[in-house]
């Protein structure tokens, strides 16, 4: 089966390499600024797309709904041109496909699938994110994770995986959550459940706090309770959940760690993309 990868960052190059290693008839286009060995560069967009079963775009797909995101390409790829060359037998897979791009896709009778809507991808991405958060904490702390007191704010995907790993290294794991069902899960997994109301009482004992909640939760009154030599690792996407200025003022070490999968484990991140694409292919019976 022919697959083509169009533009994107290093993760897409790694993805192309992994697909090639698996024996796919692989072509890439839109990477002239990067060294890519052992891959077949297409000479132009038309030939790249021709006969491919799957067309893989960037993550995220586009900033302006006109051009694909091609940070490693000295020219550019127009989305309209891409859809023009595609046929209704082909499938377009990319990340964060906007409504406008989706509309263009439908007009051309092309099935488009957004990777960011695939729950298995977000679940699997929690693994490199959690592991990256632990690496950051190891680098920043003067004590071991083992035997330290760590509180995680939020028990979503990242909170769940992070709690398991911290516990696996030997930390004393506290998890803050709001509803009783989550608190029940937290205690069933052997962590210490912390109801939002009790968080302020306990946070002063922590050596490290990991935030996964994308709203201002670690604000002044929480920061005032924290030990001076504690560490805050914010994993929440923008606008983040920590009052960084106040923390600085109080002398509390903070780090805002975003995009960890691509940074700490680019091959794992590309492997997750690959597995998700295979799942899509299997579901569609392509």
């Amino acid at each position: 089966m022919k697959i083509v990868v169009l533009g994107g960052d290093k993760r897409n190059i790694k993805l192309a390499e992994l697909l090639k290693d698996d024996g796919c008839d692989l072509q890439v286009f839109g990477f002239d600024k990067s060294e890519v060995n052992s891959l077949i560069f297409s000479e132009n967009l038309y030939y790249a797309i021709k006969d491919a079963k799957i067309v893989i775009g960037p993550l995220p797909c586009s900033d302006d709904n006109i051009l694909l995101n091609t940070p490693l390409y000295s020219e550019n790829i127009k989305i309209d041109e891409m859809f023009e060359y595609m046929t209704k037998e082909q499938i377009f897979i990319a990340g964060k496909i906007s409504d406008e791009i989706l509309k263009k896709s439908k007009l051309n009778n092309i099935l488009s699938i957004d990777l960011f809507n695939r729950e298995e991808m977000t679940v699997l991405n929690a693994i490199p994110t959690a592991e990256g958060a632990i690496q950051v904490a190891m680098e920043e702390m003067d004590i071991t994770i083992h035997g330290s007191k760590a509180m995680i704010l939020g028990f979503g995907r990242i909170g769940k995986v992070l709690a398991k790993m911290l516990h696996g290294i030997g930390a004393d794991v506290y998890v803050e959550a709001r509803n009783y069902a989550d608190l029940a899960w937290i205690s069933s997994y052997g962590y210490k459940p912390v109801h939002l109301d009790k968080m302020t009482d306990l946070i002063g004992e922590m050596d490290v706090v990991f935030n996964t909640i994308p709203s201002m939760i670690v604000k002044e009154e929480i920061l005032l309770e924290l030990k001076k030599n504690s560490l805050i690792v914010d994993l929440a996407s923008k606008p983040g959940g920590v009052d960084f200025e106040k923390a600085k003022e109080l002398g509390i070490k903070t780090t805002w760690a975003l995009g960890l999968p691509g940074k700490v484990a680019p091959i794992t991140a590309a492997g997750i993309l690959k597995d998700t694409i295979y799942n899509i292919i299997e579901e569609l019976g392509v």
Copy 2:
């Protein structure tokens, strides 16, 4: 705060004892066939209910929507009479409150809360259920759980807790699930994910299979693949998920384990009820 427990089985007696130990002003009614020490029996239903903040009924509440379930009472308690004695300041808490009972409750301006709708209770009940399933497997198997190959069908509440415990004892844990997100979770937890399609291929290697799915999944074609000395533990509520007759014919050991929490750990089961009731009280700000 005065709390009254009206009828129900041994679990409700244990619950009453735990509430009493916590210092509640506790009364019970509807247990003359059971030995209950150190509790204050009310002389009649009216006095039992009078001044109570919380009225706790049986789990399940009733079989006929007319009488409370009172297996340990030589007479009976009419639901209409109970609501008549209650005031709108009081709260009725029981298990599986039918629409008809709920209607009566509303007519009398009484707030009724169904324990079976409390997610934290179903989560916490997964713990004694999973542990009971392991006890059953230990009793029935000639090999240790440690080092055995165990497959769990379904990754809901019980599946999750059971997988963690089996893994914690040292089993080689396989979990069957249908959707890719669940399969991603399964592998992120360190178990071996088994897509429904692959189940038949792998099930022949298993020493024990735990079913948590309440529909006929372990049918003839699956049973034919199983090792002769393997064990099937069915945890699914009626109608269950195993073709028991066929299994018997094939000489495969099966056991259908229902209502495990009350059987293997009655005090834990009562403690879960108590915690859930406390959560309700806290949420309502009673």
Copy 3:
């Protein structure tokens, strides 16, 4: 390679079946009181031993140094006769070979190997012992292991495996030990270390106590501290480590669980024998 199994209990029969399943040229002798299918019974001791590379005896080998232990045989096997038929190319493997039997073995130029001196066997036997102890505790307790407080006395082989399994199910695990290195190991594994001096202070909080130390440790002053509804599981070989009479007087539930591997997991126990015998064969380069 021909192997012969001479006498012993059911574990030796299972062992013979496992060796047969692996393709050994297997013969048995000394089991006329038991149903043994699919095995070749030798007609007499001479033919049983003839041409065998390995002669496997009972565990323990003998009670009187004259006859092999043959509880499943209506006649008996004389040790002197056995050695007389053996040649110096053959190896005798059994459990607890006394100095006197060893002397006879040497006189006949036969290499004898005592299974009870094989450390890997005692390590592996800790697994079914620990799992059996957990099964016993599950059966005797009204609460779940998960969330219970469990103290293990001693951090030898059984203590180590039991601690890991209890922790894996979700118990709050305390381990008593005497020296600081063991206490360091206990805390490095994430359990709560209890120095012998502090044991009396903490034991009153426990739901279950597992003793692995073969000397009187759970004596009156300890029993007096225990909760009335707590459970003691004694795993220590004779004379055991619990004052059972005093415990009974105080109404504390106790159970003395010996020989668990053969009882709770006979096939696993036989498999451990088999693996140990294979290790011996490999080491000797037979």
Copy 4:
């Protein structure tokens, strides 16, 4: 109780701070090149030692048996002078006390205790060592530890703790050992045992190899089997266990990580010293 810390590196300063925080009457001497707040510097060696119960020296104690190791002191401390000022009621505690220093100690009737002989210290130091090794691996690898194949060579203190942590993060853990008892332990803990003979067959599948054995084990024939993008982390003290030159030639990434506790977790390392000193004090009944 008065305690004095004489010379040593940053770990000894951290140790002094921790002892001070615990309320000891603490004095230090031999640190003029370092910023040490909130501690009472003694003006001279005589007053530093006078009335102290415990005199803590450097780790290691001395390079030449004449002077204490005082990298943070612009002058020097003579061992003879130190023992001269000490009385037989005082105890000298340091690391790696040579026979010659021990002789001097005895001549002055001083009890000297070598921290490196304390097994609990070496056990506890395995924790920051293992965690540091994981941090190094996370930093050097393009994939996550979770889901990777990791082999540990040796199952001593560091091997045991490292295996547990890697397993806790979700790696597929293989452990190489030589004797059957260790291999039994490895499998009882849920890791994959690898007999030295089978190591060459399996090592080619590994993503990361951690060596804990202080002799040349990862030599050319092993290196030739390794994947090109695998990582070797050598934790063995000099002379190490990896042929680093050959590895470089073959393009295999290696890192030789020594002295990890002091580097990755200086406060934990100092805390381990402190706990060990407290154990010594308790044992001696000072």
